[in-house]
């Protein structure tokens, strides 16, 4: 074998120099069926790949743990979404986002990253904005969940929805439901006086003035790859004046 990095073989001399076993990183903690030979190879791989102590530790953990058979457990939860109660029996691993999209077919809420890094999945839970991809559905028994589908009253759009159209606060539209849900909560946060990183006077109480700078800061958890940010800021500002 030829590699740029010889540490793979030198660190683990007994490794079969031709072959490396690779475990999908996601399995590391639960796959306990590695043979001794596999384990050595895995160490070899990770040593070469990362040479980070952290990775080695996690690999060793594999060997020490007892075989773990994962069995998903089903759980029944009542989700209140946009005022309607849905009784769902689900795998406990289902996120609130997947429950909305894949089980309730409320596909207005979007998945952009599934890791709390983009805001596309923003919904309101008891009036607060959250990333629904970071929350397990079964933990929401009794919560009031509002999604983009619940913001407009029939034909009547929410003022933020109207303002997004008017100021063209989107292009492809994929981040838009998350942006709008986020903005709904933002307006409420500003109304009750929550400070942000750019709020000049933290001692100030009462409604925060939503300057473009405040809006930009408070909307920065919602990525828009189309770059519709100036329109988003204008839309939020317009809606903040009418609400």
């Amino acid at each position: 074998m030829t590699t740029e990095n010889s540490s793979r073989t030198s660190t683990v001399p007994e490794t079969d120099s031709e072959e490396y076993s690779s475990v999908n990183p996601a399995t590391d903690m639960i796959d306990c069926k590695l043979s001794r030979r596999d384990f050595v190879k895995t160490v070899g791989y990770f040593t070469g790949a990362g040479a980070l102590g952290l990775q080695l530790i996690s690999v060793e953990t594999i060997v020490e743990c007892a075989p773990l058979e994962f069995s998903a457990s089903a759980h029944t939860v009542e989700l209140t979404v946009n005022g309607l109660v849905h009784k769902l029996t689900m795998d406990t691993r289902v996120t609130l986002l997947d429950a909305l999209r894949e089980y309730l077919k409320l596909t207005g809420t979007k998945k952009g990253c599934d890791h709390g890094q983009c805001g596309a999945c923003t919904v309101l839970v008891n009036g607060r904005r959250i990333n629904s991809c970071l929350s397990l559905a079964v933990t929401h028994q009794g919560d009031q969940i509002t999604t983009i589908e619940g913001l407009s009253g029939g034909e009547e759009l929410h003022p933020l929805q109207t303002a997004f159209i008017e100021h063209d606060g989107f292009q492809c539209g994929y981040c838009t439901p998350g942006q709008i849900c986020s903005a709904v909560a933002l307006l409420e946060e500003a109304r009750r006086g929550d400070a942000s990183f750019v709020t000049p006077d933290l001692a100030h109480t009462g409604r925060v003035e939503l300057t473009p700078e405040e809006i930009r800061e408070r909307m920065s958890g919602n990525v828009c790859r189309c770059g519709a940010y100036p329109g988003i800021v204008q839309a939020v500002q317009t809606a903040s004046r009418t609400l």
């Binding site: 072959e19 596909t107 589908e149 759009l157 997004f164 292009q171 994929y174 920065s220 770059g227």
Partner: protein
């Protein structure tokens, strides 16, 4: 009607703000199950063994596709990873697919697959690959092109700039991940795919699976962003179709965000050496633009960074050279303004360096080297109003208040810098078809197999038809994103509007003529026996021009004439001889103001002003968003975006949206965009050149030049991060 140019709100706006716009992963059908990709964890070698026994036994699993058991596809190309052999060409290559009843089950089972690899030495060192690099071409245009005597002119030039500019790997990262739902019905395949080229994907899928093109249908009503990565067909789509065939059920595959950093394209890394010669007065005498960019070991893709250098300035001696370096990485592809975004960064920073060496205003230098003709072919442009862009943008920005010296402008503790750059993008147009239909309910349908990707094409289609038919836009519906409709080209290269609108106009003309012919022949019509020239159709009414009060409604006319829709279909080809007579490019001027914290290094782009010459603007509102979106990308290119490759494993380390930085709202200051708005009717009847990409070109250079002006530091390696500025 006169709707073209108006700032009409998007007709699909309501669908988008209410969450009712249906993206490709959002279609439900009986029996739908989920597929998850398993990817390689080595950059080169082969799969020595795969143990999928645990995965097969896991709850809910319907199938595991591996190189051992996957359907053989004789027409499979090497560029796709369709489990046809054991070879591994890059880290992150699809090597297995797990299909299960539920997403969670597929995901878990995918994590149970154990793979043994035999590793070969990967090619991952970009610079070390220069000696074995090879030439290439971009869209059929040769990578190498020169005129004059560059070496001689460089030797004789009074002033010379010779610098290397580098740009990193970028990943497109549209907010909507790649997604496909594949379903077989006998030999018929239907795929809902997030795609920028449904016709192209249909042809490829038909070939792969050995069925007629007419047996394959691609549907894509909305694309949640693409920026190039949804142009080519990638492995996950045929894999979903293979899985669907195997389990005999519809299969949905949605890539996870980390999976968007390898198997679905990237903007390749570039290394650009620019050698520029000029007279003491600032006249360019020679430019050599030498580009190295990477591709994969399975497919050539050329990042054409030196192409803009062929059109930007009047210069008698120019040499543009591209070399491709094969690496064990996923194949790169078109990324918003491919070649031009990276190339204008290098060229326009070199121009700034030259201006400083000449002690000349950088805008002045550009005006001095302005060219009225294509510098290579000497052909006139179909329209060029760049001089107006410079003047208007400079005025709006307040450029005359700039002090030339670096570090000469401040705001409190912050260093302020102003920079300028020229923008350009070629005008493209391809054949397209469209249909316009008068429906029995009195409404009008306009349809073509193009893609709504944020470009606002639903709205533009309706505006085009409204004006062509003299009908209110409220009476018109638009349909797109379906291979069952007349085909349109790939939505890329800023060519959708230029290609599709002429087809709509012609189809509209045809259906209108047809209607009027039918009306004058119809004894029950108030226009019976008139000549077609004497009658008109406007706002849903058919009438005699001389007596407009005696009219008939379109719906009534159709009802009386058998109740069948009346249709016009057109296929329109661009005039191929145009290229022999003209060069056709869009241009623009962009100015940026940055502030830099001198102690900590972060840069903020406070404001950007740009003025574009893009021919006729068809919708002021959506155009503005297109320009702004491009500028936001330019800011990301300048300051944020950078895919870090692990030099040993060829894996992108920051394969997520927390570590791969794209601009967020707080990164974007004031953006002031406008257009000269002079129609370029050489290219198409409406005179529109397309605007999706020009905004990113030049912007990174304007920001980089502003940073130099603010700090006196010339960073030639993007992105310009705080650590580079305080180093």
């Amino acid at each position: 009607m006169n709707t073209i140019g108006k700032p009409i709100s998007r007709v699909d706006g309501k669908l988008k703000v209410t969450g009712s716009a249906r993206y490709s992963a959002e279609f439900d059908m009986p029996g739908l199950c989920y597929a998850v990709l398993v990817q390689s964890t080595i950059p080169a070698g082969r799969i020595a063994g795969m143990d999928d026994s645990l995965a097969r036994k896991a709850a809910g699993v319907l199938a595991v596709l591996t190189p051992e058991n996957a359907q053989r596809l004789p027409g499979a190309e090497k560029r796709l990873s369709l489990l046809q052999d054991n070879q591994v060409y890059y880290n992150g290559q699809p090597v297995a697919v797990v299909v299960a009843e539920k997403l969670e089950e597929a995901h878990h089972a995918a994590s149970l697959i154990k793979i043994r690899y035999s590793v070969s030495a990967p090619k991952l060192d970009f610079v070390a690959g220069f000696p074995s690099s090879h030439p290439g071409n971009h869209n059929g245009e040769p990578g190498d092109m020169s005129w004059g005597d560059v070496d001689g002119a460089l030797k004789d030039s009074d002033i010379k700039i010779d610098q290397v500019y580098t740009t990193p790997i970028h990943h497109h990262n549209p907010m909507e991940p790649h997604a496909a739902i594949a379903q077989w019905n006998g030999d018929e395949l239907t795929v809902h795919e997030s795609a920028q080229d449904i016709s192209g994907h249909r042809a490829k899928l038909a070939k792969l699976f050995g069925v007629q093109e007419s047996n394959v249908r691609l549907i894509c009503l909305f694309v949640g962003g693409g920026f190039g990565c949804k142009g080519p067909l990638w492995s996950h789509v045929p894999l979903a179709a293979m899985a669907a065939r195997q389990v005999n059920r519809p299969v949905k595959i949605v890539l996870e965000r980390p999976q968007m950093f390898g198997p679905v394209g990237a903007r390749p890394r570039t290394h650009q050496r620019l050698t520029v010669g000029a007279t003491r007065e600032g006249k360019l005498t020679a430019i050599r633009h030498e580009v190295h960019a990477h591709t994969s070991v399975i497919e050539d893709y050329l990042e054409s960074s030196a192409f803009p250098t062929r059109v930007m300035y009047g210069c008698p001696n120019v040499s543009t050279i591209h070399r491709i370096v094969d690496l064990n990485l996923g194949t790169p592809t078109y990324t918003r303004a491919p070649g031009v975004a990276t190339g204008t960064y290098a060229l326009e920073v070199a121009m700034d360096e030259l201006a400083y060496k000449l002690n000349m205003d950088p805008l002045q230098l550009r005006l001095l080297n302005y060219t009225e003709n294509d510098p290579q072919t000497k052909l006139p442009f179909t329209g060029k109003h760049l001089r107006d862009c410079y003047t208007r943008a400079a005025e709006r920005f307040g450029w005359s208040n700039r002090t030339r010296e670096p570090r000469s402008m401040r705001d409190g503790s912050q260093l302020i810098g102003w920079g300028v750059a020229t923008e350009t993008y070629p005008a493209n147009r391809r054949p397209a078809s469209a249909l316009v239909r008068f429906k029995p309910d009195g409404r009008v349908l306009v349809a073509t197999g193009t893609h709504e990707i944020g470009n606002g094409i639903y709205t533009i289609m309706i505006q085009t038809a409204a004006d062509a038919l003299n009908v209110s836009p409220d009476l018109i519906d638009a349909q797109l994103g379906d291979t069952a409709l007349p085909p349109a080209p790939i939505t890329a290269g800023s060519m959708t509007v230029a290609s599709v609108t002429p087809a709509i106009q012609t189809a509209a003309e045809r259906v209108r003529t047809r209607l009027l012919q039918m009306a004058v022949a119809d004894s029950g019509s108030p226009v019976h026996d008139a000549s077609v020239d004497e009658v008109d159709f406007k706002d849903g009414l058919i009438f005699r021009k001389l007596s407009p009060n005696r009219s008939e409604k379109l719906g009534d006319f159709i009802a009386r004439n058998g109740g069948q829709p009346i249709e016009g279909i057109a296929h329109v080809e661009p005039d191929e001889t145009l290229k022999q007579k003209f060069a056709s490019h869009s241009f623009g001027a962009v100015f940026a103001e940055v502030s830099v914290d001198p102690d900590l290094g972060p840069t903020r782009v406070r404001r950007v002003t740009a003025v574009y010459d893009v021919g006729k603007v068809l919708n002021e509102k959506t155009a503005r968003s297109q320009f702004i979106g491009g500028i936001v990308w330019g800011i990301g290119l300048a300051l944020h975006e950078d895919s870090h490759m692990d030099a040993r494993t060829g894996r992108i380390v920051n394969e997520n949206l927390a570590d791969y930085h794209v601009p967020v709202n707080a990164d974007i200051g004031e953006i002031d965009v406008s257009a000269i708005d002079i129609a370029d009717t050489h290219l198409n009847p409406l005179g529109a050149r397309g605007i999706g990409e020009i905004g990113i070109t030049g912007t990174a250079a304007a920001v980089a030049n502003a940073i130099y002006h603010a700090t006196g530091k010339r960073i030639r390696d993007l992105p310009i991060t705080p650590q580079k500025l305080i180093a």
